[in-house]
Symmetry: C3
Subunit: 260 residues, 3 copies
């Protein structure tokens, strides 16, 4: 069973490496994969999105360890969740919720059993002291019921839905990828159903977005366009240029589409 | 058989992690190695160079997956190539050519068999939907003939050769490494044969480069020098400083060496 | 036996990937873990600190390969050290010393046996040509005595100790982590013993640091505080902000604590 790691630890320090050392000390056979460690510092929403759009590509029974945990050391719970196809380990701050609800929670455990932690638990690095060893034991076959007591709910964060009012659709920027593409919360079929055969004007931060294309090379350099991206949402892109820079965009900015 | 990945995906998003998930879903035993994911966005030439100067250090039968693919979603072919010692999977845009020609192509396949792709193929992320699963199946022992039809040629990009005219040698900056060292296309023996026992003046962007040294600690701080680097070309370096900054250099800049 | 890598190679070039290729060519079973490759370029002290605060979390018999080596190609020795629980491979510039002395050196070898190197040894990339293959052979079970001749000492660098003089304690910034937290050389018990029940004023670069907290969420936004961090030293932090920026701090800056 692979263990996939998603954190906001960056790559400058030894944090991720030490978590991997801890895991291999407990399970020398563990297969470790990095999703990314460059979640924006403390951004639960960004981590939720990346987990949600990644988990289903992994082998069944993969254990996802998510450490984006601004409340580390406080009273927030530590969760281990078994869903239909996967395991998830992380803080109870909503970060697991989109993936867990999509795949379907089967068991939710509030992790409390110190037998599965490192001996000394710091207040600042529970990725190393709690999350990593817990995941390692699960990968060794420890049933998640043994980790603590069963609870009924995890903290949920709301997925930002598109708003349609008469001739106006309002969406938002969910995520900005490595290339500066702007991933919206607008599904292609929602867009096509809304626009139909009408003309439309789409804007973000006062600048226009042109047509919907099928692939990058259809576009003209310098003109922003919509494209159905790999996250299965419409993305706002420019050919070989950063749409992030062009629109001076940030996550949660509003995209407005008006039918003419 | 290890699978080595080379892309321009960066490390901020989940792209590389998802490709690895896809591979492990198909071949749970796959051994995954990153060459780098920080190829300059869309730079086929830079990726060609890094592949060319990396592949031979890997175990025989390693499968190299190269996703630097500005034409993704358009009509460019997907290639799987078996060379004397290795396998290469990538787009047919020239990125594989320097490595493939050096090692010697034995079979070139235009990959078309959807049986070896993910079910849903996006127009924007074929690293996940095509290249990763194809590599995973090859690592499981699928013969590359099964992936599509045999073709005779791959797209080739020209390796930039040194130009010598009377007392002047013109080279170019092939690559700038993590430290800011400037890797030229000038081989040490070509340089020595050209210069012989004469004095020379070497310049880049109007600034002089001094002697040829054998190792960094021979140099004086602040003075740029030539050194035979690990890519087996002459590099332009400064001790513990970035030559890139000093010369305000970029790839494809011209180095001029004149005999006096 | 895992092989853990710690370098200043960054992630833009193919250096780390090529080292891994070399290792797997010699030992296809090797389990490779990255500690970090973003040690500040040429900073032996920073690498020493990261190795020192990482190694004990790894499985026994892990082989640590440290390539922070500004003297590459010069006369500095190549070391292979067997300690009570681990192996260390790196240049003899002090980078191994804090970890090796803590764990207890059992055998120190000056590595000289070219049988365990690549055939062609460059002057600039001995991570690939010497350190990686040596580590791979050790992971295959080659006794370190076979690598060269036994020596008695390795180069040591001094750990910076806290200075206490009457009512003033002077510490220094050992390390700045990915989040901009400032790790000092002050242990919590040293601090508590010094301050006792008195009030104190703590400053760094002319700005004040407030209370000692147990976890981040106790602090008020915008106010810097001390916290016992995961490196088991006091750290200077701000809630969800970079203390590095706030204090314009760099490594080796002095922290002054005065009892009132």
């Amino acid at each position: 069973m692979p263990i996939a790691l998603l954190t906001d630890f960056g790559d400058k320090s030894n944090f991720v490496g030490v978590m991997k050392g801890v895991i291999l000390k407990i399970n020398p056979q563990a297969k470790l994969i990095d999703i990314t460690h460059k979640v924006r510092f403390g951004s639960i929403k960004q981590a939720s999105f990346l987990l949600y759009k990644s988990y289903s590509y992994f082998p069944k029974r993969t254990i996802f360890v998510v450490v984006v945990d601004p409340g580390v050391g406080s009273e927030r719970k530590v969760l281990a969740v078994e869903t239909k196809n996967y395991y998830f380990v992380g803080p109870d701050n909503g970060v697991l919720s989109w993936a867990v609800f999509e795949d379907g929670a089967e068991k939710i455990i509030e992790v409390k059993n110190k037998k599965y932690f490192l001996k000394n638990i710091s207040f600042t690095f529970q990725g190393r002291d709690i999350f990593a060893p817990v995941a390692a034991y699960v990968s060794r076959g420890v049933k998640i019921e043994k980790l603590g007591k069963r609870i009924k709910q995890i903290k949920k964060i709301d997925f930002p839905e598109v708003k349609i009012k008469k001739d106006t659709l309002k969406g938002e920027i969910l995520y900005i990828d490595s290339f500066g593409n702007l991933i919206t919360n607008i599904k292609k079929d929602v867009f096509l159903n809304f626009v139909k055969d009408k003309k439309f004007v789409a804007t973000l931060n006062g600048k226009k977005i042109g047509k919907l294309y099928n692939f990058y090379s259809q576009a003209e350099p310098g003109s922003p366009f919509f494209i159905e991206g790999s996250f299965s949402f419409l993305e706002i892109s420019l050919q070989l240029t950063s749409a992030k820079e062009y629109f001076k965009a940030k996550e949660e900015d509003t995209v407005i589409i008006k039918k003419l």
